[in-house]
C-alpha cells in the first residue's frame, strides 16, 4: 500500500469538510503529489481509487484533466514559465528560452540529469509583475532572463 497512515488520516480530515467523500479527491491528489515523489504514479492512482471507493479509471480521468497533476515523473525542480498575453508582451519567450538553455530541459520535458522539469503555463494571475515564472510553487515576478538565471542558479542540486 503506497498511502501512509498519516496521509490517510489527512484524507479523512479533508473529507470531513464535504457531504460526499469524493469532493476531497483533488485536494487529496495534491497531497499525494507533494508527499509521494512529485507525480501521480499508476500505483498511487490505484490506491486512491481504493480509498475513495472509485474505479482507478475515474481517478485517472480526474487527475488527467488538471494541469497541476503530473502523470509522469518530473524533475526535482519544477519551473513553470507563463506564456499568456501580459507576460508575452513583456518578454516571456526570451525568458523561457533562457530557462531552457540554463536547465537543459525543453518546455514540457525534464532535463537529462533529472534536476529540472520545465513547462510553459497559462496565466498564473501575476500579470502586473510580468513576465513571471513559478519555481517549485514560488512566484517570481518582474523578471528578465538574467534574473531568472540567478534564481535557477540558487536552487539546491
Amino acid at each position: 500500500m503506497v498511502l501512509t497512515d498519516a496521509l490517510k488520516a489527512e484524507f479523512t480530515e479533508l473529507a470531513s469538510h464535504y457531504p460526499e467523500r469524493r469532493a476531497a479527491l483533488i485536494p487529496a491528489l495534491h497531497r499525494c503529489q507533494e508527499e509521494l515523489g512529485g507525480w501521480l504514479s499508476p500505483e498511487i492512482i490505484e490506491a486512491m481509487a481504493e480509498w475513495f471507493e472509485m474505479e482507478p479509471v475515474e481517478v485517472f480521468s480526474v487527475a488527467s484533466f488538471y494541469p497541476m497533476f503530473f502523470l509522469r515523473p518530473v524533475g526535482k525542480h519544477i519551473v513553470s514559465v507563463c506564456r499568456n498575453i501580459s507576460c508575452d508582451l513583456r518578454g516571456s519567450q526570451e525568458l523561457l528560452d533562457r530557462v531552457c538553455q540554463v536547465t537543459g530541459a525543453k518546455a514540457g520535458a525534464n532535463s537529462e540529469d533529472g534536476r529540472f522539469y520545465v513547462e510553459h503555463v497559462e496565466c498564473q494571475g501575476s500579470c502586473a509583475n510580468a513576465p513571471m515564472m513559478v519555481v517549485d510553487g514560488i512566484y517570481h515576478g518582474d523578471l528578465c532572463p538574467e534574473k531568472a538565471e540567478q534564481i535557477l542558479g540558487g536552487l539546491d542540486r
Binding site: H17, A24, F52, Y66, I85, S92, N129, D142
Partner: protein, 437 residues
C-alpha cells in the same frame, strides 16, 4: 484622480492579513452589528440589491439579485451553499489575489454576511491551486476567526452557525466558470453543466448554491456598514462602487489600482499606470481580461463600466486592462490567446473543442506568413459557428469575441500579414525589470 478608496484601504499595514490587523481597522463590525441586531436576512439582501453592486468576476450580474434567486428557506429546506470563485484565471487578471493575500478577513466577513442573508449552511472558497499564499492566508484567517467565535457553531453566542471551508483547485481555466467550478469542487473533471437548472436551484450536490467572485463578496461588508447610498454615490449610474483594475502589458507602472467604475480607460492608463512605456504610442488595448477583445486607441477615453464598454462593442469583464504599444502585433497577441483557449477548452462541445483549435491554426498560419485573404472570412465563419449561445458555457464566446475584434478593429493588420507574408514591424522586445506593486 483623487477619490475615496476602500477596497485597498487596509493593506498598508504589515499585519493586514491577521485578525488583529483587521479588527484594529474596524473589521467584523458590519457582521457583528447584523448579528447583534438580528437584521432580517431579506433586508441584508435588499441593501446589496439597492447598492447596485455588480459581480466583479466577469459577467457583471447584480449580486443582490443573484442572492435573491436562492429559494426561500421556509419553502425549501434543503442545505444551502455558497461557492466563492477564487479561481482567478482570466488572462490579465490578478486582483483577487491581492485581496486574499493581504486582507483575507475582509473576504471572510463578506462570506459571513452572505451566509446570514441567504441562510447558508456552508461556504466553500475555491482557490486556484497555484495561489499558495492566498490559500495559506485564508486558511490561517479561518482558524483565527474560528478561535474568536466568528465562524462555526453558534457564532457570538447566537443560534447562527456557518462553516467556511477552503478548497484547492488544480489548474484549468474552465473551473472559473461557475458550473465547472461546482463540478470540480465535487471532485470531478471541470466540465460545465448545461443551464438550466441554475445553481440557485441545483448547485453543489444538487442543493441551492450561489457562486460569487472574491471581489464581489469583499465589497459586501463595506456596503452594509456604510449604506447603499454611499456605494451608489461612487462609480457610474449603472455600475456602482470602485473596482480593482489590473493593468498590464506595455505600461510604465503595471499594477492593481483601486479605481471608481466609470473612470476613463485613458485616465487609468496615463495617470495611474504612467502611460504607455518608453513614451511609445498605443497600438491596441483590451479592457477587461483576454475575453473582451482588442480595441483601437481611438476609444481609449471610454469609461470603464459595463454599459460604456458595451457601447464600443466590448465588455467590462474583470476590468483588467492589457496594453499593447506601437511595436506590438495584434495578430501575434491574438494567436497567444487562441493557443490558450484551445488548451483550456474542456472538450464537451464540438463547436468549442474544434473551433478553438481551428482559430488557433488559422491565426498561426496568418502569423507565419502563410495566410490567404479568405482566411479572414474563415476566422469570421468559425467564430460565428461557435458563439453566441451555441455551447454549454461561454468559453467558446471568450475565443470568438477577441477574434471578431481583430477582424473588426485590426483588419488592416490581418491584410498586411497576408500580403506581406508576415509582420515586419514586430521586433523582439527585451523584458525590463519593474517595480513590484
Amino acid at each position: 484622480m483623487s477619490h475615496e478608496t476602500y477596497l485597498l484601504s487596509r493593506i498598508e499595514r504589515g499585519d493586514s492579513h491577521t485578525l488583529a490587523g483587521y479588527e484594529a481597522q474596524g473589521g467584523y463590525a458590519a457582521f457583528k452589528k447584523i448579528l447583534s441586531e438580528g437584521t432580517p436576512p431579506k433586508d441584508v439582501t435588499e441593501v446589496v440589491k439597492e447598492s447596485g453592486l455588480r459581480g466583479r468576476g466577469g459577467a457583471g450580474f447584480p449580486t443582490g439579485l443573484k442572492w435573491s434567486f436562492m429559494p426561500d428557506q421556509e419553502r425549501d429546506s434543503r442545505t444551502r451553499y455558497m461557492a466563492v470563485n477564487a479561481d482567478e484565471s482570466e488572462p490579465g487578471t490578478c486582483k483577487d489575489r491581492v485581496l486574499m493575500e493581504r486582507d483575507p478577513h475582509g473576504l471572510l466577513e463578506g462570506c459571513l454576511i452572505a451566509a446570514w442573508a441567504m441562510s447558508l449552511h456552508g461556504v466553500y472558497i475555491y482557490v486556484r491551486g497555484e495561489y499558495r499564499l492566498s490559500y495559506r492566508r485564508l486558511d490561517e484567517a479561518i482558524q483565527e476567526a474560528r478561535a474568536a467565535g466568528l465562524i462555526g457553531k453558534n457564532i457570538q453566542g447566537t443560534d447562527f452557525s456557518c462553516e467556511i471551508h477552503m478548497h484547492k483547485g488544480a489548474g484549468a481555466y474552465i473551473c472559473g466558470e461557475e458550473t465547472g467550478l461546482m463540478e470540480s469542487l465535487e471532485g470531478k473533471r471541470g466540465h460545465p453543466r448545461p443551464k438550466p437548472p441554475f445553481p440557485a436551484g441545483f448547485g453543489l450536490w444538487g442543493q441551492p448554491t450561489t457562486v460569487n467572485n472574491v471581489e464581489s463578496i469583499f465589497n459586501v461588508p463595506f456596503i452594509l456598514e456604510r449604506g447603499a447610498d454611499w456605494f451608489k454615490a461612487m462609480g457610474s449610474e449603472k455600475s456602482s462602487g470602485n473596482f480593482l483594475c489590473c493593468i498590464s502589458g506595455h505600461v510604465e507602472k503595471p499594477g492593481v489600482y483601486e479605481v471608481a467604475l466609470g473612470t476613463p480607460a485613458s485616465t487609468i492608463l496615463n495617470e495611474y499606470a504612467g502611460g504607455v512605456w518608453h513614451g511609445h504610442n498605443l497600438r491596441a488595448w483590451i479592457p477587461g481580461g483576454s475575453s473582451t477583445g482588442f480595441l483601437r486607441p481611438e476609444v481609449i477615453d471610454t469609461p470603464m463600466d459595463h454599459d460604456s464598454l458595451k457601447e464600443v462593442g466590448s465588455m467590462f469583464g474583470t476590468g483588467s486592462m492589457i496594453i499593447l504599444d506601437q511595436t506590438a502585433s495584434v495578430v501575434h497577441s491574438a494567436l497567444v490567446l487562441m493557443d490558450f483557449y484551445e488548451h483550456e477548452s474542456c472538450g464537451q462541445c464540438s463547436q468549442c473543442r474544434e473551433g478553438t483549435q481551428w482559430l488557433a491554426q488559422v491565426f498561426q498560419r496568418i502569423h507565419d506568413g502563410q495566410g490567404r485573404m479568405e482566411d479572414i472570412d474563415l476566422l469570421s465563419d468559425i467564430s460565428n459557428g461557435m458563439a453566441p449561445g451555441k455551447t454549454i458555457c461561454a468559453l467558446a464566446d471568450a475565443a470568438a469575441i477577441p477574434t471578431h475584434s481583430v477582424i473588426r478593429n485590426f483588419r488592416d493588420e490581418l491584410v498586411e500579414y497576408v500580403q506581406a507574408g508576415g509582420h515586419t514591424a514586430v521586433s523582439k522586445k527585451r523584458a525590463l525589470p519593474m517595480e513590484t506593486v
